[in-house]
Each structure stands twice: as structure tokens, then as C-alpha cells.
């Protein structure tokens, strides 16, 4: 009982709205002060600081920076025009553009909140002009932004790879399948709803091949970034961290010289945004390491593995239990934080039952994005509702079909390893 007091403290601190990093620190400090005081505090501090003193984690600020560069460089607009010539003629045109744009943007950076905020500002006003209701526009924007972190590259994919001890390259390659499935499922949802409500297309007729080629060439530089990252890593040209650095350099060049939207005065803003974002993410990682140190000393992961194994020997049931648990936790805790805290606990258990850790990674990554859309505390939900000005109630009424669509994808990814790892096996 004494051994799990820190976990209880952690939840109390969470509930008090202590930032997650400090809640983890608090629970761990309690343990090392009152329960296991044989361990010198210096060891604890060492765990804390050495956790982030790592070259692989350096990929995180680069991918955060990439997202920030995109907003200033004209890359987002180029991708939006490209998405419009591809799907704008369909029923519910701009809603389809919204979905496809999230997927395209996900291929470059991959922050759901950044994607949701950007589209709420530039795409939703256009959607309203075309007769879409505000709550529906908000729902599409939030739901589709769940795709961005799943489509590689993405910070969550990197974090999971480091925690589970799989290669970042494998995670990146594998994540294309769930990402694309999520995109398709949401496009279908938009199509069904648009047909029912007779939402108009954003263009009168299908774009000609010529128009598509023109927009494709305009956005080719942006579209090249994901290919460059994957290809370079696959060919062993650079590590994921270096891939992030090169992608930043490339997008800066594109922003300065191709789209000419990026100005020198944007650079300090981009850097400062990134410093703040990096601090917030890595503080959680460092604190989670200290908390994890407590868990290891008390053999909590082994206990959880044993308890789960006693409960069931079927990976089928185990994954269902984990999925339900993650969905509930995701309603309260931001996805990235849930990943850093829970993946170290769950990966050993699923491995023991013979589940491929990359496969479980796909399940985990898709699952935690759904929580961002659900009340009471979905982060993308809050982002779009506050920018667009929609009540949570109206939002929920419109977003549920999208959540159902995403749950279908989650089930598919959970119960078919060949689906979950399709794109990985294709290249392996």
C-alpha cells in the first residue's frame, strides 16, 4: 500500500491543476523523502537532468520549430491551395479541404493544437461564408487535426520510439497507415454529413489536370519535406535528430526564397516559440524519468504486467482493456503527457503477451488523439471552441460522428497487426 502512495499523490496533484511536470516531481519527491529515504537526493536530481541530456530528444525542438516555420513561410497556404484543387469540387468542399490539409500539414510538422488553431483562423471563416455552420466547422477542424501528430514526422512518434526502445524510422514508416486511415474515415464522415445537409462545394467544377499540376508544382517544395525526412533516415544519411535539423533548414530556405513570405524578423519569434514549447515538453520528460525511477525501484511495471497477465492471457482482451483505459485517461490528460507517463508502464506488459511494440505504438498514438476531442478536457476541443467561438455543447453535438469514425480506425489498428504495420512491412 505504501508503495502506491506516490501514485495517489500524483493524481491529487493532477486534480489540483498542478502542472504535470510538477505533479510528477512532487510524487517522486514524496517517495524519496518519506518512503525510500535510503536513496541520496543527488541520485534523484541526476536522473532528472540526465534524462533530457540526450541527443535523440534533440529531435523534439526541431519538429516543434518546423511547425512554427510553416506558419510564417507560406507553406500552409500553398498546401491549402493544393488541397482545394484536389477535393474542393466535392460536396462539402471546404470541409474536405480541411481534412486533407490536416493530413498534408501532418506530413511536415505534427502538432494537433497548432494545426487546429491555424485552420480555425484561416479556413473556418471561409467555411462560414460557404454556409457551413460554426459548430460543424469547429468539429471538422478539431477532429481532422487529430491526424497531424499521427502522420509522420511527429513528436509523439519520437517520444514513443525512445520510450519503447524501437527505432524512430520504424515508427515513422508505420504511422503512415493509421494516419491515412484516419484521414479517409473523416473524409467519409464529411461526405455523408455534407450530402445530408447539402453543403456546397468550394469550386464549381473539378479542377483540370493543368490546374492540379500548377498547384502541385507550387507546393512541391512543401511536399518534398516528408519524403526527404523518411528517405534520408531510411538510407542512413542522417539520424532522426539531424533529419529534424535539415528539415528546418530546408523549410527556411523555401520560406525565404520560394514563397518569399518568411522575413528575418520572424526568426526570433520562431525561436522563442520553440524554446517555450521545448521547455514545456522536456520538463515533463525529465520529471517522468524521476517518477519512473520510483516505479522501477518499487517494481510497479512488473506488478502491472503480472496483474494484467493474471487477468487475461489474450492480447485481444488486454488491448481492449488498455484502449478503454487510455480513452478515459485521454479525456482528462493531454496526449503527450499520457504517453510519457503511461507508455513505460504498458509497453512491458504488451510485449510479454507477444504484441509487437511498434504495433502497440500505433494503437497508443491513435488512441491518445481521440481524447483531445472529447469533453470534459480535450485540448483540440478547447482550442477550436475558443478561437471560433462555439459552446462546448454545440461542439459535442457535431463532433461525435467524427469520434465514431476515429474509434473505427482505432479498432482496426488494434486488432489487425497487418493493417497497423502495413506501410512498415511494405518497406521493411
Amino acid at each position: 500500500m505504501l508503495a502506491i502512495t506516490p501514485i495517489i499523490i500524483l493524481f491529487v496533484l493532477f486534480f489540483l491543476n498542478i502542472p504535470i511536470a510538477f505533479a510528477l516531481m512532487g510524487a517522486a519527491l514524496f517517495y524519496f523523502t518519506f518512503i525510500n529515504s535510503t536513496m541520496p537526493m543527488q541520485m534523484v536530481i541526476q536522473q532528472f537532468v540526465t534524462a533530457v541530456e540526450s541527443f535523440p530528444y534533440l529531435a523534439v525542438p526541431f519538429f516543434i520549430m518546423l511547425g512554427s516555420v510553416m506558419n510564417y513561410s507560406g507553406i500552409s497556404e500553398a498546401l491549402m491551395n493544393f488541397a482545394n484543387v484536389l477535393v474542393g469540387h466535392m460536396r462539402g468542399g471546404l470541409a474536405q479541404v480541411n481534412v486533407l490539409l490536416s493530413a498534408l500539414m501532418g506530413g511536415i510538422s505534427g502538432s494537433a493544437n497548432a494545426d487546429a488553431a491555424m485552420q480555425s483562423k484561416i479556413l473556418v471563416p471561409e467555411m462560414e461564408k460557404k454556409g457551413f455552420s460554426k459548430p460543424f466547422s469547429a468539429a471538422v477542424t478539431a477532429a481532422s487535426s487529430a491526424v497531424s501528430p499521427v502522420i509522420p514526422p511527429g513528436t509523439n512518434l519520437i517520444l514513443y520510439a525512445i520510450i519503447a526502445g524501437v527505432t524512430v524510422g520504424d515508427m515513422f514508416l508505420a504511422a503512415y497507415t493509421p494516419g491515412i486511415l484516419m484521414t479517409i474515415s473523416m473524409a467519409i464522415t464529411v461526405a455523408i454529413i455534407s450530402k445530408k445537409r447539402n453543403y456546397k462545394p468550394s469550386r464549381d467544377k473539378m479542377a483540370s489536370i493543368g490546374e492540379i499540376i500548377v498547384e502541385f508544382i507550387k507546393s512541391i517544395w512543401a511536399l518534398l519535406i516528408p519524403f526527404g525526412i523518411i528517405l534520408g533516415m531510411r538510407m542512413g544519411m542522417f539520424t532522426p535528430t539531424e533529419a529534424g535539423g535539415i528539415a528546418v533548414l530546408f523549410s527556411l530556405i523555401v520560406g525565404f526564397f520560394v514563397y518569399r513570405k518568411l522575413k528575418l524578423e520572424h526568426i526570433p519569434i520562431i525561436l522563442m516559440d520553440t524554446v517555450k514549447g521545448t521547455g514545456a515538453v522536456l520538463a515533463i520528460i525529465a520529471s517522468a524519468k524521476v517518477f519512473g525511477y520510483y516505479l522501477t525501484l518499487e517494481r510497479i511495471p512488473q506488478m502491472i504486467t503480472e496483474a494484467l497477465m493474471n487477468m487475461t492471457s489474450s492480447p485481444f482482451v488486454l488491448l481492449m482493456v488498455i484502449n478503454i483505459m487510455l480513452l478515459i485517461i485521454g479525456m482528462f490528460i493531454e496526449g503527450g503527457a499520457a504517453l510519457v507517463v503511461l507508455a513505460p508502464l504498458l509497453v512491458p506488459a504488451v510485449k510479454a503477451l507477444g504484441v509487437d511494440p511498434v504495433h502497440f505504438g500505433m494503437v497508443f498514438i491513435v488512441n491518445i488523439m481521440i481524447g483531445g476531442l472529447t469533453p470534459p478536457f480535450g485540448s483540440m476541443m478547447f482550442t477550436v471552441c475558443s478561437i471560433i467561438g462555439v459552446t462546448l455543447e454545440d461542439f459535442v453535438k457535431e463532433v461525435w460522428p467524427f469520434i465514431v469514425a476515429l474509434l473505427v480506425v482505432l479498432l482496426l489498428v488494434t486488432y489487425s497487426e497487418s493493417v497497423a504495420l502495413f506501410s512498415l512491412n511494405l518497406f521493411r
Partner: protein
Amino acid sequence: MSKFLNKLGKDFELYIGSLFLLATTVIVIMNVFTRYFMDFTFHWSEEIAVSAFVWTIFLGFANAYKCNELIGVEVLTKLLPKKGKNIVEFLTSLVTTTLSGVMFYFSYIYVSGSTKITAALEVSYKYIYISMVIAFALITLYSIYYSIKSFKKIFIIEDAVGEEGDSKC
């Protein structure tokens, strides 16, 4: 924005952090180029990149706390009425002050006792880890300030307080 924070320089952590981040970025990119085109890498490149990265993290951490942008679980504060919110905010700041103070104390002891030197450049790790001590010192100061501010708010008559957003920067 209060005078206290203005005096400290609203975003000074971000200014310094940006310089470290810039250094990290340039070194990592340079590394790829020297490896491919000149077939060598500076033996210190990874070490400097990671050290600057550690500085970036802790400066960003302090600033993110100051601006209320650390990720938290906002169950209670979203449900409570304004009065209760202020009380929770006071408690939260107080807990953070304690935690951050403890972390400051132990990290200071850890860093001052550290004799480790880095592998490539053989510099003391103190120059890297001091960033952690600074971050906790700053956060302790900020959280004391927020404790006092939220404590005052509990007793102020409702309509006298201007509506303030969640973000403090």
C-alpha cells in the same frame, strides 16, 4: 502585466534560450554537411549541441511556468466558481513554490558537488547543469509572486478585479 515581471524582463529567458537553440540548430545542421562533404565531424559538436539544448530546455521551462503554459489537468479550475478558483490557484502556487524550492535546494547541492567533466571538451558539467538550478530558482520566485497575488485575489471584492485570461504573458 505587472511591474514586478516587467522589471525582470518579460521574456528574457526566451531571448537567452533562443541563442542556445540557435547554436544547437546550427551545429546539428553543420554536422551533417561536414560529414557528407568533408568527411569529418568536429569531435565536440554533439557535446555542445546537447549542452546548449539543456540550457534551452530549462530556460523554456521557467518561461513556460511564468506564462502559465505548462500542461496541466484543468479539471477543478474549470468547474469551480471564481472564488474557489482563486483558492485553488493559491494552493497550486504554494505547492509549486514548495516543490520548486526543494528542487532548487537539491539541484544546487548536486551541481556544486559535481566533479564530472565532459568527454570531448573536458569542461565541468557544472556549466551545463547550472541551467537547472537557475530554472528552479526562477520558478520558485515566480510561484511566490503568484502565491501572493492569488492570496490577495481571494479577499478582493469580485467586481473590483478585472477579467484576466489564463495566460499571464
